[in-house]
Amino acid sequence: MCPRPKRLRKISDPPLIAGFKPYGASDRALTREKVFLHFEEYEALRLCDHKGFSQVEAALAMEVSRPTLTRIYARALQKIADAFVNGKQIIIEGGKIFFDSEWYTCEGCGCFFNHPDKASSVEECPLCGHSGVSNYTEVPEEIQEKSCRRRRLRRGQMNP
């Protein structure tokens, strides 16, 4: 029997850097060791800690189940902690993922399109020239609404 195949994890943007290197180590040989942080782990960390999503929201954004997201996130923390404590390099690569960067949708013809030229902004649909163009959102709207309250509460606790 084969194991169940892994679901592809959705990554919204590739990370800006390829990794981290430690500096100022007393033992040089130590810093040559590497920790491979997968893209999916980077993305879980970005969504949960940088963007402040709950794990439910992060799981939806990456199109995996909530328990899977928790496992990915736990592994990310473990690897980063290992790198910090043992002075290892962090290299971001690998994982079972696909990139989903900057997709847009047009209200005129209903098509989806991407925008490879990141320097300029998107003003009109490349197909019909309609100006009603919106960003294809990471989290479905009805879920965003539901969890908004929770996020606000959490923020309130942080800044009273």
């Binding site: 098509c111 989806f112 197909l127």
Partner: protein, 106 residues
């Protein structure tokens, strides 16, 4: 600017092909010259890697936009690096002529 449209047939009344790498025909439309070029897809029967070789085929023709029903996973990063724009049409009953009319509104 040249735009490629994946087509099921070799005339302008045929509909968009839902697949990109293994579509039947490519219609290349030049928005400045208003010229249409129709060519069969050389990778239609390819066992593997039909998507990437179709991308290379279209890139060699100087295409800047591709209209299709769907793109495979291998395609996105390749097209991003070549700065080719993807346009996904979810409705596959549109004919090539209708897509060309839409492009002319630009």
């Amino acid at each position: 600017m040249k735009t490629a449209i994946t087509s099921t047939g070799k005339d302008l009344n045929s509909t968009i092909d839902g697949r990109f790498g293994r579509c039947s025909y490519f219609v290349i439309y030049d928005t400045e010259l208003k010229s249409v070029e129709i060519m069969p897809n050389p990778n239609k029967e390819a066992e593997e890697g039909a998507g990437p070789s179709s991308v290379r085929f279209l890139a060699s023709k100087g295409v800047k936009k591709i209209v299709s029903g769907e793109f495979g996973i291998k395609i996105k990063s390749l097209l991003d690096s070549l700065k080719i724009q993807m346009i996904v049409m979810k409705t596959e009953d549109k004919t090539i002529q209708e897509v060309i009319d839409l492009l002319d509104h630009n």
